[in-house]
Symmetry: C2
Subunit: 139 residues, 2 copies
Amino acid sequence: MKASAPGQFTTTDERTDFFIERDGERFAGTHLIIDLVGASRLDDLEHIETALRRCVEVSKATLLHIHLHHFTPNGGVSGVAVLSESHISIHTWPEANYAALDVFMCGIAEPQNSIAVLQEAFTPSDIRVDEHRRGRGMV
Amino acid sequence: MKASAPGQFTTTDERTDFFIERDGERFAGTHLIIDLVGASRLDDLEHIETALRRCVEVSKATLLHIHLHHFTPNGGVSGVAVLSESHISIHTWPEANYAALDVFMCGIAEPQNSIAVLQEAFTPSDIRVDEHRRGRGMV
């Protein structure tokens, strides 16, 4: 355990992010790069936290730690959720109705399920998703 | 301030992740997807924390919050650093000498400077970097 900085923790737990074999490929996990355009409620910290927790739940992942930061004066939010299966992050620019997220999950989690949650929570006019199979050909 | 979950914080601060205009493009920030192959010291939590903090420093970013999680039995580490400029994450698989990172920074930060730090800290045989200009054409 270390306590050298505010908000810093060190914990020990079993990970559930073993390698995946799918479509003849072996990789460490699926990393979704998600952009929300024309989105709403991007300055609503409580709403964003609820949405992140719901993403974890529908993706069948396990939440280890969550941290949200509310910026001034624009009301933007940065949030990260550390999972047994990797992480989710969100960074919002309410003034541009834009949010940049990434959802990285390993093992048997289903990160794609997060997309419907984000669609419902932030009602973007456009949602763009780019997928990386992390560690493909490397593990 | 909310206190509904372990390790959860809500703080207020000024963000420094305004939009970037470069090469005739306007975007929210540079998101580097980084894979380390044949890397060492991936089970050394203290070393990983030091490397993350050094990445923040050389990238001229501002650390708001850092959290590391040590898994058993494989010794893997998941870590996230929340920045005024967005975030850095690392997930390591020591048994495969593989680590998946992402470095997302907005504003005047220089995320590319992190790569040399990672090279020195983990001495990978290969380091692969994919760059996304987040929000390009959207903000």
